[in-house]
């Protein structure tokens, strides 16, 4: 068990990659703090996670032997995030791992000059500033412990451009910048900060993820066509599976990666190297 005696906080944990990471961590002995907005957000043109989905993730983690604290909070609100972190410290005494996974893929599908102030704002607020707020909330306790691992879920969109996805691309690029700067700020306190860049992830029904279909919808194509189109640009000719991403997150979270900080790990079947 690579995370025994550790507590991990995962944002955006109601479904998708957040759920995949939470379950994987529970299997490795961690206790979990699950954070999700579990509500829809104005300007985001697709349904986000729900309270039931959040509860389902909690149940699945418990079945894997974890103790769980599930809490609703929007990463756009510092005081909501702070409150969850305070509860988590009351409940578990410490937070060893933070996975900044909460994210949105749309509003997208427009060229740069067409994006509205609100569309731009919400994208950066969730995908970039959200991670900054949770880091602010957990770092003081990690500093006391002189240990901690923060994994920021960026994207291949943090490394290369995608047409009609400027807000997302900008936010995910920004998240890599935040990762590198935070790694330096906290290295002396033994807190590691790394970015993980998944390529296009296959949607797995049990995880109820929505990212792929939303990207497809933003571009006005059917999800199957989007998947095929992506496959053609994948050097390994396969989409990334959720467990490929959670395995990488597990490694970065665990002591196996004790010398890894400020790094950008891509799990994209080679996509971004072309």
């Amino acid at each position: 068990m690579r995370l025994s005696q550790k507590t991990a906080l995962v944002t955006g944990a109601a479904r998708g990659l957040g759920r995949a990471c939470a379950l994987r961590f529970a299997e490795e002995g961690a206790d979990l703090v699950l954070l999700d907005v579990a509500a829809d957000i104005a300007d985001v043109p697709y349904p986000l996670g729900t309270p039931d989905q959040l509860e389902a993730t909690a149940r699945l983690c418990r079945e894997r032997g974890a103790s769980v604290l599930a809490a609703r909070a929007d990463v756009r609100q510092q005081k909501d995030v702070d409150a969850v972190v305070a509860d988590a410290l009351d409940r578990f005494g410490r937070i060893d791992v933070l996975v900044n996974n909460a994210g949105i893929a749309a509003p997208s599908g427009k060229a740069v000059h067409e994006i509205t102030e609100d569309e731009w704002g919400v994208m950066l607020d969730v995908d970039l500033s959200g991670a900054w707020r949770t880091i602010k909330a957990v770092v003081p306790s990690m500093a006391k412990q002189r240990s901690g691992s923060i994994v920021n879920i960026s994207s291949t969109a943090g490394l290369v451009g995608y047409r009609y996805f400027a807000g997302y691309v900008a936010a995910k690029h920004g998240l890599i910048g935040l990762t590198r700067a935070a790694a330096l700020d906290y290295a002396a306190l033994q807190i590691r900060v790394n970015a993980l860049c998944p390529g296009q992830v296959r949607e797995e029904p049990t995880l109820e993820g929505r990212m792929l279909s939303e990207v497809a919808r933003s571009l006005g194509v059917a999800p199957e066509d989007q998947e095929t189109a992506f496959l053609e640009s994948q050097p390994m000719n396969a989409l990334v599976n959720p467990e490929d991403v959670s395995s990488a997150a597990l490694w970065l979270a665990s002591d196996d990666a004790r010398q890894v900080t400020g790094s950008v790990v891509t799990v994209d079947g080679g996509f971004s190297t072309r």
Binding site: D31, R62, R91
Partner: protein, 969 residues
């Protein structure tokens, strides 16, 4: 462990470090926490319990900020997964600001457990109990949870780990556990009995720190970690022990932040405390937890940090504590009949345990080889390869056949003069080929040789001659000290005999040699070593060290030092080539190094201090050595000195073997191959016994000591010498019939400890163990700390008895400082490392540590110690250098300045080097000082021949004149 390459951010404005400057690192929040697991009454649901909490908060019985966390568990209460969850929950520390946490584990089968964890500042054990009762509905309405009073902090640093634990600092934080018992103890006296047993154990383990940590839950004040000092020594009557413990408990001092947490502690639970966990993390690096059971017994558990205890030491400790607890807990007369037993009477071990320890010191069976004499074994080598080179010096080379023939011829001449079986023949010769021929010749007559160093004072030579009752001495000295009835004969006079060679005597039990050793007390005594021991030594080493005809050895050591026995016969009995190193060469590391290169020596035997000089020379040169084996002996090896050597000479090309040995056990006892791994670990181990040799570690009564516990090293087996010549009492005292093994053993007077796997740590001489103000102190330990100081190049610590009254007894330390060192700094560092009672009362800088002929500190030659603290400002820098050079400085002044820099400011031009405590190391240093003064390199030989500054200056002036005359640069 990571290595930091760039410095961490400083606490400047804006840096992360400044931001968190207020957040102190708290590595062990769990140490201050305790917990309680309580099963809730059947049918009581989580919702009902939450209602109870609300009501209790309403009434003020419980604080308003207490939260109840409910955890739905996917499995039934009895499921192992639930058990794991329960343990995890109950061992989870609260957050750093230390609160009370209440968690309900609501299992799939409807059972509910309440898990409470609190920092001791938030709730004491009674408080935890009350919260449990309130939520279970078992408290009465008037009870209120109150905040505990001012509780001590439990975050102080740990005391140093016990030496007998043999823990590995790299395993810090890795814990292990061993069960103990059950043991019968009357419940009302559990705490004093357990304390008494633990204190007794520490006393028997000779631990320096006898403080026992205590968390006794059956005491009124059950939240206070205490540190209890219970004095126990070997004479303490057992009957008094428990009473003393009761008194000590009454006056126990709480552990506070300014006092380290004791390394060893006990936690005594009481019967009402089911489900109570007095700590979530080991409160002491070595923690005994005792749980009462309904049948009146206690079961114990030893939890330990592997940095403090080796797992085998932990197993052993658990066994011993179990035994001692049973013994102390029982009525004294049950165990000892009508004697009044004292602590020292207690047997720690069972017969099996003792047998296992004795087996550890007897690693391999002795190889079966027929016993033989040294000269018969030599004759076989000579017959095998008569034409091979056996022996050489600068001027002469002998084949095996020639050596054999020369020795045979001389043996006839010796026999003519009375040498033969049962006699002893003195040999007092400088090292050259003749010396080796003579030693072999003596053996061939059936006599034993008694080597004497021609450089010894006349008095010493006379003493040895008389003590050994010698009639015949072969010597190159013109005037061997005359004594009645002693014939001194020059080896040259022994070549031309025409007499028939005597029939070779071939009794392996006959003495081969007698070597004189001087203990720290008394006069030198002759150790009689029979032939068969030398054969056993070769049988034990030849195969392991692959000794053979391709090897080239040196004869470096004086024949009066038994290292030479190993050099001469180790080489000649395995067919090697023995290169004799003349005295002057052996004193000069440069010349000796050149000899090693030129003669392509493969097997080298050295004392560690001689090797250190050789190493320095080697590291400054390009020439490569043919060495494949270096054997260290004669004094303790500090492996750290080998780090640089290994960078140049990998250990798989040249093997380094450290051997601990004693003349009385035939040169060597143990063997340990030293590699960079040992160097990195700073190992003090001298390894395991040689095949055929046995060793064990005993207490003052001859009982086997537990693993890790220091005691006297006993050596048995194939190397034990016959006796001390003409010293029946001393022989009886040191060469004993060991009742435990049934074999003859030699009591070495050396202090050691056995490690798991049978490896021995050598800890110095027992005489080095002194008592100051009741503390037993190892002088060697203090000396080793002195030497750890980078500014100290040599040091000695001696016991000063003062004017006889016990309060006047003190330790005096002497150091040789490097130019950068100061007494005050050395003293400051000593204070940092050593407990107060071990810090020497005085610390005096000296130019060199005077040694006796046998290489031991010559106490008589040490100066009066500097008085403190005035001397603290003194430094080792040469004061002469500060005086400023006189305008017209002659060679004599320059030489004198170098002498003073090396030997001390008071040195006058006519003071004799050797009277000043000069030795070979100081000679090397003096030679360097002269070079620094711009003089040409001065051969060491010149220093020996011109032993005063004035004479040396004259000699150098003459040399300069001569060189000027011949036009040389």
């Amino acid at each position: 462990m990571s290595t930091r390459i760039s410095p961490p951010p400083t606490a400047g404005p804006g840096s992360a470090a400044a931001f968190f400057a207020g957040t102190t690192f708290d590595a062990r929040p769990a140490r201050a926490c305790h917990g309680l697991v309580r099963r809730m009454p059947e049918g009581l649901t989580a919702d009902r319990i939450a209602e109870r909490l609300a009501a209790a908060q309403e009434s003020g019985a419980l604080p308003a900020d207490l939260r109840l966390w409910v955890e739905d568990v996917a499995t039934a209460a009895a499921d192992p997964a639930s058990e794991a969850l329960r343990v995890r929950e109950a061992s989870r520390a609260t957050r750093h600001d230390g609160r009370l946490r209440a968690v309900l584990l609501s299992y799939a089968d409807g059972v509910v457990d309440l898990v409470l964890v609190a920092h001791r500042r938030a709730a004491d054990s009674a408080g935890l109990d009350l919260v449990g009762r309130i939520l279970a509905g078992a408290a009465d309405d008037t009870e209120r949870l109150t905040l505990p009073g001012d509780l001590p902090r439990h975050t102080a640093a740990d005391a140093a780990p016990p030496a007998w634990g043999m823990g590995d600092p790299r395993r810090t934080g890795v814990t292990g556990a061993v069960r103990i018992g059950p043991v019968a103890i009357a419940p009302q006296s559990a705490a004093p009995v357990l304390l008494a047993a633990t204190a007794l154990l520490l006393a028997r383990y000779a631990d320096r720190d006898r403080t026992v940590g205590l968390l006794a839950v059956d005491r009124a004040d059950r939240d206070r970690f205490a540190a209890v000092d219970l004095p126990v020594d070997d004479g303490t009557p057992l009957v008094d022990l428990v009473r003393h413990a009761e008194n000590a408990l009454a006056s126990a001092a709480p552990v506070s932040a300014d006092r380290p947490v004791p390394a060893v502690g006990i936690v005594v639970l009481s019967e009402q405390d089911e489900g109570y966990r007095p700590f979530l993390e080991l409160p002491f690096p070595v923690t005994f937890t005792w749980d009462p059971r309904r049948d009146g017994t206690h079961v114990g558990r030893l939890d330990y940090d592997e940095a403090a205890l080796h797992p085998e030491a932990a197993e052993q400790l658990a066994r011993h504590v179990g035994r001692l607890t049973a013994l102390v807990g029982a009525k004294p007369d049950d165990a000892f009949g009508d004697r009044t037993p004292v602590s020292g009477d207690v047997e720690l071990m069972t017969d099996e345990e003792r047998a296992a320890l004795l087996d550890l010191g007897r690693p391999q069976p002795a190889p079966l080889r027929p016993a033989t004499t040294v000269h018969a074994a030599f004759a076989r080598r000579a017959a095998e390869r008569p034409g091979a080179t056996a022996l050489s010096d600068a001027t002469r080379e002998l084949t095996y056949a020639q050596l054999d023939e020369a020795a045979t011829r001389m043996s006839a001449a010796l026999a003519e003069r009375g040498a033969g079986p049962g006699t002893f023949v003195g040999v007092c010769m400088d090292r050259d080929t003749d010396l080796v021929v003579t030693l072999l010749a003596v053996l061939k007559t059936g006599a034993a040789y008694v080597p004497m160093d021609p450089r010894y004072p006349v008095e010493r030579l006379r003493y040895t001659t008389e003590d050994a009752g010698l009639r015949l001495v072969v010597t190159t000295l013109d005037e061997f000290p005359a004594a009645d009835g002693v014939t001194a004969v020059h080896p040259g006079a022994l070549t031309g005999s025409t007499a028939a060679t005597p029939a070779p005597a071939d009794d392996p039990d006959a003495p081969a040699y007698v070597i004189y050793t001087s203990g720290s007390t008394g006069k030198p005594k002759g150790v009689v070593v029979p032939h068969r021991n030398v054969g056993a030594l070769m049988a034990a080493t030849t195969e392991d060290m692959r000794l053979g005809p391709d090897d080239v050895w040196t004869l470096f050591h004086s024949s009066s030092f038994d290292f030479s026995v190993w050099e001469i016969w180790g080489c000649l009995l395995t067919g090697g080539h023995l290169v004799v190193v003349p005295y002057w060469v052996s004193r000069s590391p440069e010349e000796f190094h050149a000899l090693l290169v030129q003669r392509r020596v493969t097997v080298l035997s050295q004392t560690p201090s001689a090797f250190a000089s050789l190493r320095d020379v080697h590291l400054n040169q390009q020439q490569s050595l043919a060495l494949r084996l270096v054997v260290f002996g004669g004094e303790p090896l500090d492996v750290r000195s080998l780090e640089l050597w290994f960078r140049r000479e990998p250990h798989d090309r040249c093997r380094l073997v450290n051997m601990f040995g004693i003349t009385e056990t035939t040169v060597h006892v143990t063997t340990s191959t030293v590699t960079p791994v040992e160097v990195a670990a700073g190992s003090r181990s001298v390894g395991t016994a040689l095949p055929g040799w046995t060793l064990s570690v005993r207490d003052a009564r001859g009982r086997v000591q537990p693993l890790g516990v220091p005691g006297e090293i006993y050596v048995g087996g194939a190397g034990v010498a016959d006796r001390y010549l003409n010293r029946p009492e001393l022989t009886a005292e040191r060469f004993v019939d060991d009742r435990l093994t049934g074999e003859r053993a030699y009591r070495s007077g050396d202090l050691g400890r056995l490690r798991p796997g049978g490896r021995l740590d050598h800890l110095g001489r027992i005489d080095d163990q002194v008592k100051v103000r009741g503390f037993r102190i190892e002088l060697g330990e203090i000396r080793s700390v002195l030497l750890d100081d980078p500014t100290v190049s040599a040091g000695a610590v001696v016991l000063n008895q003062g004017d006889g009254d016990a309060a006047g007894v003190r330790l005096d330390a002497y150091v040789v400082l490097r130019p950068s060192g100061s007494v005050a700094e050395v003293r400051r560092r000593l204070r940092e490392v050593l407990p107060e009672h071990m810090v020497p009362a005085t610390l005096t800088a000296v130019p060199g540590i005077p040694l006796t002929v046998n290489g031991k500190v010559d106490r008589a030659k040490l100066p009066e110690p500097d008085q403190l603290p005035a001397a603290e400002a003194a430094t080792g820098a040469a004061p002469a250098a500060e005086e400023g050079a006189p305008a017209q400085e002659g060679l004599a002044d320059v030489v004198l300045r170098a002498w003073r820099a090396t030997l001390g400011p008071e040195v006058g031009p006519d003071d004799d080097f050797f009277d000043l405590g000069g030795n070979s190391l100081l000679a090397v240093r003096l030679s360097a000082a002269l070079r620094r003064e711009g003089l040409q390199s001065v051969p060491l030989r010149d220093l020996y021949l011109q032993p005063t500054a004035a004479r040396l200056a004259e000699h150098l002036t003459a040399r300069q004149a001569a060189e000027a005359g011949t036009g040389r640069p």
